[in-house]
């Protein structure tokens, strides 16, 4: 997985740079996630949720219609996650990383330099330890996303970009299902990243 991410990160900009209508962007930021699971044992209400996680994103877009681009975006988050028992405190459960790959369509939002993005893709959970709800490993989930990006030129070739991302998936794990959890949890994530963008329309 890491090798694929690295290779894609290295190859994507050069591949896109070969086309004059292509854009490459990269950013650093943070991602908030809603709860993964809420559980009740005896009278304890336990909520498991990731902390706000530092995020790296890279993406590339190429124009397919006038004003509209198709893009590929990779996102990696790493942060802690914990189980909070209502009224009793919190237990750190370890580090939870996620890797997502999405393909999206983006177009003008209101007026330049704002653009919207709608995407689909996959999200892989990568826990630091196969334990608890991740005893049988981290799941791979289908992802839907929306976003917006603002670009402002800072030099002749480079733009400053501010990227806002929202995505949604339904969460469960093999271990949760084995232990009798039914249905899945809707998980919403919101991310904000600041970075650079090169090429394409300005």
């Amino acid at each position: 997985m890491r090798t694929a991410l690295l290779l894609t990160s290295l190859l994507l900009p050069s591949a896109l740079a070969a086309q004059s209508s292509s854009t490459f962007y990269a950013g650093l930021g943070a991602t908030w996630s809603s709860k993964l699971v809420e559980d009740v044992i005896v009278s304890d209400v336990i909520t498991t949720q990731p902390a706000i996680a530092p995020t790296i994103m890279v993406g590339g877009a190429t124009e397919v219609f006038p004003r509209y681009d198709v893009d590929i975006e990779l996102q990696f988050t790493t942060g802690s996650y914990s189980a909070d028992t209502k009224g009793k405190g919190s237990t750190k459960l370890g580090t939870l990383r996620t890797f997502s790959a999405t393909i999206g369509l983006d177009g003008p939002l209101f007026k330049p330099p704002f653009r919207w993005r709608a995407s689909v893709g996959v999200l892989k959970y990568l826990p630091s330890e196969d334990r608890g709800m991740f005893l049988q490993g981290g799941p791979l989930k289908f992802l839907l996303g929306l976003g917006a990006q603002y670009r402002r030129p800072v030099s002749s070739a480079i733009d400053l970009s501010v990227t806002l991302r929202y995505d949604f998936h339904r969460f469960t794990t093999d271990e949760l299902q084995r232990q009798g959890f039914s249905q899945t949890q809707q998980v919403h994530r919101l991310g904000l990243a600041v970075g650079i963008a090169m090429g394409g329309r300005r």
């Binding site: 809420e38 559980d39 189980a83 028992t85 919207w116 949604f168 232990q179 039914s182 899945t184 809707q186």
Partner: protein, 212 residues
Amino acid sequence: MSSRSNIILALSAAVAAGGCGDISNPSRSNFYDWRLVVGIDSLTFHWPEDHTVRVWVQDTLSMPANTQAGIDTWKRQFLYQEFDAVLVPDSATADVLVGVTIPPAAARAIRLGSMAPECTGDTTFPPLVGSTIVLPFHIRVVPRTLDPEGPATQACLRLTVTHELGHAMGLFKHSPNPNDLMAPDPVSGPTARDRNTVQQLYHFEADLTASR
């Protein structure tokens, strides 16, 4: 199609996808009583969540590996890391002593035993001092065959030490179901009933504490 229409369409799709119900936790209603009966009281004990239980093991008959496997088995029953234990080299600081020649904890110790065909086991601790269990727990696992290193006996030792660790975790009663790990003569496990029981135990308010 305008960009605003695109956004509304995408938002509608996301909201529609998110409109289903949330995850539902299991009822965990299938469990057995774990409490220690003292007089007319039924008492609950479990290790505090922030305490890593220190386990010393006699280095014989693959007991360290068997005990580690038992600890790992119990840790796997929890979703939120309510229980943790490690093997330690110093018996003087251990919360639990495990071995084949470990004597009972006291002459009038509280004893919880198990008996399988190839081996027996028991967990003892001294009579309560008020609401306190005086540490350490003593776990003794004894082979009953002429070939204690044989696979059948080793499997028995592993199962039995896991059963006895269950007692040292606070499962002070045996399960009435013969398939459960905490049955008096365990043959396999842990089962979903063992898991439900230990999960409930670790979210129940403890009546007893443990100290040296």
